[in-house]
Symmetry: C2
Subunit: 337 residues, 2 copies
């Protein structure tokens, strides 16, 4: 393997000078610089990241921590994050908490010393883990739920849910169901509870009669949502509209309606939240969230923190908006309920 010493020898300078010209921004004589560059190129020299890290204390790696990857939101934001990090000269170490026990504290210690910073995607740490993160003294940026007092990029989940409910109410719906409460334990995730609470609040604000039995728990997948929603859709007295806490679950609701024989939106209106890639093609009414913007903002925040800058905007909120498509319609005047 060719080392910095080889380059130094070929260029006729010291290793210190090679290091400076190649990385350090220190002033180097243009001619020296050229000699070194030429030597490095000739030898096809690539510095050892490992040695650089040990000597400098920086790794140029960022841990990207996510509870899951099999969901649209995470898969989407991770590609943006990887691209943005790359532009800034960082690599992404992927940490997926899925299948991890309650305490992933040990896990964090395992990668802590490998990275210069942490990007936490909707992770809800235990108090012990929080303390542990605190102790690492690493720059951290959270996406989604708040994480301690670290800078955060997020959407207004409550507002998203509220505007969804308002849309349905404006169409005349008064019997609204909801899929995606958090009864089912979701380690490391907290979006579910925020959204369901917003749902109940929105129902109250709209002056509708609450129907707690129509707010059902479900894993956040299409499959699970379909199975869970089937019961309330089959009931004699059923909601005329269903809001799913995610588009993925909304797809499940659409599937359930189909196999039950209910027409959408004639028999039941369905909407989701996210604006999943499939939403447009399936005609799903939803609340759009700009995932790429969240990824970009998060990386920008983290990079500036890793450079030692104090974040000017410790809280970035990315706006969401309603996209009305074909799965929602005004309540039919002759309603079966």
């Amino acid at each position: 393997m060719t080392t910095i010493a080889d380059v130094a020898a070929l260029a006729g300078v010291s290793v210190a000078t090679v290091s400076r010209t190649l990385h350090g921004s220190a002033r180097v004589d243009p001619r020296t610089r050229e000699k070194v560059r030429a030597a490095a190129a000739a030898l096809n020299y690539v510095a050892s990241p490992t040695a650089m890290s040990l000597a400098s204390g920086r790794t140029n790696v960022v841990a990207v921590v996510a509870p899951l990857m099999s969901r649209w939101f995470f898969a989407t934001i991770v590609v943006t994050i990887e691209q943005e990090l790359r532009k800034q000269g960082y690599h992404a170490l992927l940490i997926i908490l899925e299948g991890e026990g309650e305490d992933s504290g040990m896990r964090m210690e395992m990668f802590a010393k490998r990275v210069d910073g942490i990007l936490s995607l909707n992770v809800r740490p235990s108090p012990a883990e929080l303390a542990m993160l605190e102790r690492l003294r690493l720059p951290i940026v959270a996406v989604g739920m708040p994480l301690g007092r670290w800078p955060r990029v997020h959407i207004d989940d409550a507002a998203a849910v509220r505007s969804a409910v308002e849309h349905l109410v404006s169409l005349g719906h008064r019997d609204i169901g909801y899929v995606g409460t958090s009864d089912i334990s979701y380690a490391h995730m907290s979006t579910p509870s925020v959204r369901v609470e917003a749902f109940h609040a929105a129902i109250d604000e709209s002056g509708l009669t609450p129907h707690p039995e129509w707010a059902i728990a479900s894993e956040w997948t299409a499959d699970a949502a379909a199975r869970r929603v089937e019961q309330i859709l089959r009931a004699e007295h059923r909601p005329t509209a269903i809001l799913a806490a995610s588009d993925e679950m909304a797809v499940g609701v659409i599937g359930a309606a189909r196999w039950i024989g209910l027409e959408i939106p004639d028999d039941v209106s369905v909407m989701g939240i996210d604006d999943h890639t499939f939403a447009a093609v399936l005609g799903l009414t939803t609340i759009h969230q700009d995932v790429r913007a969240q990824g970009r903002a998060a990386v920008a925040l983290l990079v500036s923190a890793m450079r030692g800058e104090t974040p000017t905007t410790p809280d970035v909120e990315i706006p969401t908006y309603l996209i009305a498509r074909e799965t929602t319609a005004p309540l039919a005047p002759t309603d079966a309920t």
Copy 2:
């Protein structure tokens, strides 16, 4: 930061002994071992991965290279891979080629020295990149398309396409369309061409009249497929069945049919390949592939290679099978075409 020297001092032994007890499997006196363990625990000692790497030459990191992440296959296999790697004591460095120019050779040199091995997910490198990989002398395992002479885990794409066509033919369809040819350039990806070739071959084998105009190119997304398939679905003479090269595109076909006003499967049968999470709930007939099995096999292969073992099975094929659901049906006797 607490270093190995601190632990050694507290335990009253040398740093060499600490290193041995903590990592090296060398024989250490049980009592010494205990003293060291206690000291390490008391000090909350975690070895510096960076220093370990520099000294040992191993990084315990594996590069997971994928052309994309926004598609079901990649997102799904990456979580399995991350979990399996973790079990074996490795971390996953995520490299997404998306948006990269033709030559990502430079990219590879950037991370090569950071990792002990490479997991290449359906990446099609340029000859120059291949040579570069060769030069790295790193253990590599490919998933999907073949990559040089490295061990590989894959499904039989041709067989999958063939059984899909056979299914449609057995239902009486003779006018079969196909979405997902590779006219549109797909850097770093080669599944498209393999599948489309298999499609044409299967049509031939079945003795059907080829309709090249019904084999259409499309980006591998639901949106694009919907737009692209619309034209042939609106034509006076249209196929009675459409095979999409992926379930994601099949969803697009379903969407297009819906907005054109075509009933599925009465007016047109639709099927995909993959068995995407949404397939079951949407009733999509498809060819199932076990993505997790592919991920597990790939990691097993790579780990054994990184341990210096010669792979016993340099080529692992994971079986696929047809799942007939509700988007395909026998050709209606009174066919409009």
